[in-house]
Amino acid sequence: MSVAVRSMAEYAASGETPEVLFWVGCAGSFDQRAQRITRAFAQILNKVGVKFAILGKEEACTGDPARRSGNEFLFQMMAYNNIHTLNGYGVKKIVTACPHCFNILKNEYPALGGNYEVIHHTTFLQQLINEGRVRLKDGGAFKGKKITYHDSCYLGRGNNIYDAPREVLEAMDVELVEMKRCRTNGMCCGAGGAQMFKEEEKGTTRVNFERAEQALETGANIIAANCPFCTTMLTDGVKNKEQEDNVKVMDIAEMVAQSLAE
């Protein structure tokens, strides 16, 4: 199933300006699991009539894993080129479904000449719900379901966004159960700081196994996430406990996409 999506170049060619640029990110573009999140979010935007564009082939890694592994040169090169592209199109507002992209675009690009209004997709969804643009089914698929929410580090502690994703979940009438470690005290999934791309150091267990166990302890049927890396890590953690048939890890955008009113 294809999604109707226009690129920034297409908008520019037709002389139109989109409402917002959807920064897809590397995971959202290439990782099969994360692609489903990307499509879900694009479908929501299409359904409610948000005029959005993507950079398409012109998008490149923000440089987050490079910078956090210590490779500042590579980060600066990626940032230089991305800012060139974004400023070339006169981009003003960016929405992204990845908290790592969100953090770096919002907080670290301005020092390099990239100044945009950057918004995470969970905050964007919350705003669309509040404005009445996204309308959710009464008695949707998640009504009354026991759901726990995993705060990603770069949305939560990194940028103090704890409530917007929870408000979206509440709008779907879910029964939200918190983990012992949540909000400012939330535990990492183990992927940040470029850990996603290497083996963990020697330890007693893996970070994602530990975090998934904490999520399973709540007895929730769905673990709601806001980050493609967390989604992957927690899914692996749930599999490790052989609970994948009972417990699903879902991005909040996927849940909203399934709950849209006709």
Binding site: S29, K57, N103, T184, K198, G203, T204, V207
Partner: protein
């Protein structure tokens, strides 16, 4: 007799203050071993943070039990210092309970209040000793605290127990002596706590009581002087440095990493060579990232001196929770140890002489640094705005950019980002393939 005591007191006070001021100069010099960093913005917010975090102990209350015990010791420490002022002036002027006639009815009320605090401090310190040595609370009983750090912690607590006991014994004897109208012992109303202890001492002769009272008075104030000079060598230095550290704590979002303008410029000159300055104007190479304490910012070093090794950072670190070597507290302890070693080297040789050691490798291992997920839980957990993550990231930058020291997987990741614009080996042409997938 009084004159000799006064002279002795002045000598002790003078020596204590002199040694302490030398320590202050040394600590200041050590902190300034770090690189310059301008932290002069947004003063109102900084004052607010200092009041909330240091004075108000806002973050301590995430753990209510230790928070209340700590509050008792902290309030006791600050408020009982008013009493130290009287003791100090009595010592200089050869008086006894100088404030009693001035404050009248208020005086026994004040001293009674101090006594209540002293009892609270005493109880809290005993509970702290039990938590450390009997209950073995995990964050207070980890391997990295073996040796001096554990001894340091116990010494602090025992000293406070002794000081409070001396203070209460002194007041008890004083009350008995007052009731006997012994010369020099100004009569006040009974103090709230020690008035219940007088029966213990009432069987003793006035001469013995004066001896005990004077001994306690002297031991107490000498103990205070000694403790003051112990602080610079102890984790307990946090009682002073928590305040500036909270003031200078970062105000930008925790997720934000500091920019490196020198590398930003290198990339700019590579992309737009016309903007590059003439070759001879090129600046001396400053090491990329941090290999040693001199490469860190002075704020990182102030952080290290402000750390009281409570381990809230390590208890919340996902790497540490899952058995990895990394412990943010150890990062701070190592930074302080290295900074003090560098300081001693300078004291001994006049200037810094290379000792063929560095913070990376000799104090903090590569394995520890690699395990960090940059989740900022350590930064969030610290009650006094210490940022271990900032140090970890600077050391990582040094490893990658100066030593090309990276695991093979990270080299692959970097070459993918460089060539395929993504950390995985996908064709950049497929970046929008999800549209039709």
């Amino acid at each position: 007799m009084h004159l000799i005591q006064q002279i002795l007191f002045l000598i002790c006070a003078g020596v204590a203050i002199y040694i302490f001021s030398k320590s202050v100069v040394r600590i200041r010099r050590n902190i300034n071993l770090g690189r310059d960093e301008d932290i002069s913005d947004n003063k109102p917010q900084r004052w607010r943070n200092m009041v909330l975090l240091a004075l108000g102990q806002k973050k301590m209350f995430k753990k209510p039990i230790p928070a209340f015990l700590h509050l008792a010791v902290y309030a006791g420490f600050i408020i009982i210092n008013i009493e130290i002022l009287e003791i100090f002036l009595d010592g200089i002027l050869g008086k006894h309970r100088l404030f009693a006639p001035m404050l009248g009815m208020l005086y026994p009320f004040l001293i009674g209040f101090f006594e209540v605090l002293a009892v609270l401090v005493l109880v809290a310190c005993l509970v702290f000793l039990i938590r450390r040595n009997v209950l073995h609370v995990r964050r207070l009983w980890m391997g990295e605290l073996n040796g001096w750090p554990k001894t340091d912690a116990n010494l602090i607590l025992i000293t406070e127990v002794i000081l409070m006991t001396l203070f209460l014994t002194m007041n008890s004897c004083d009350l008995v002596l007052q009731s006997r109208n012994v010369e020099h012992y100004t009569v006040t109303n009974a103090f709230w706590i020690t008035s219940h202890f007088t029966p213990i001492f009432s069987g003793l002769s006035s001469g013995t009581l004066v001896a005990i009272e004077r001994s306690c008075w002297w031991l107490h104030i000498l103990g205070v002087f000694a403790f003051l000079n112990y602080l610079p060598y102890s984790k307990h230095l946090h009682i002073l440095l928590a305040f500036p550290n909270a003031y200078y704590g970062r105000l930008i979002p925790q997720g934000e990493m500091k920019n490196m303008p020198e590398i930003q410029n290198e990339v700019l000159y590579m992309m737009e060579p016309d903007k590059a300055p003439a070759a001879d104007a090129a600046q001396e190479h400053k090491r990329f990232g941090a290999k040693d304490v001199q490469d860190l910012s002075w704020k990182n070093l102030l952080d290290a001196y402000s750390c009281t090794e409570c381990g809230r950072c390590t208890a919340s670190c996902p790497a540490n929770m899952t058995g990895k070597l990394l412990s943010p507290r150890k990062i701070m302890m190592d930074t302080r140890d290295r900074m003090e070693a560098v300081g001693k080297n300078i004291d001994k040789n006049g200037t810094w002489q290379d000792d063929s050691k560095s913070l990376v490798h000799d104090y903090i291992s590569v394995e520890e640094l690699r395990a960090c997920t940059s989740c900022q839980a350590c930064v969030e957990a610290c009650p006094v705005s210490i940022n271990p993550l900032d140090i970890i990231m600077q050391l990582r930058r040094y490893l990658i950019m100066e030593e090309s020291n990276a695991p093979q997987e990270w080299n692959l990741m970097s070459s993918n980002i460089e060539n395929n614009m993504a950390p995985w080996k996908f064709s950049p042409d497929d970046r929008d393939a999800w549209v039709n997938a």
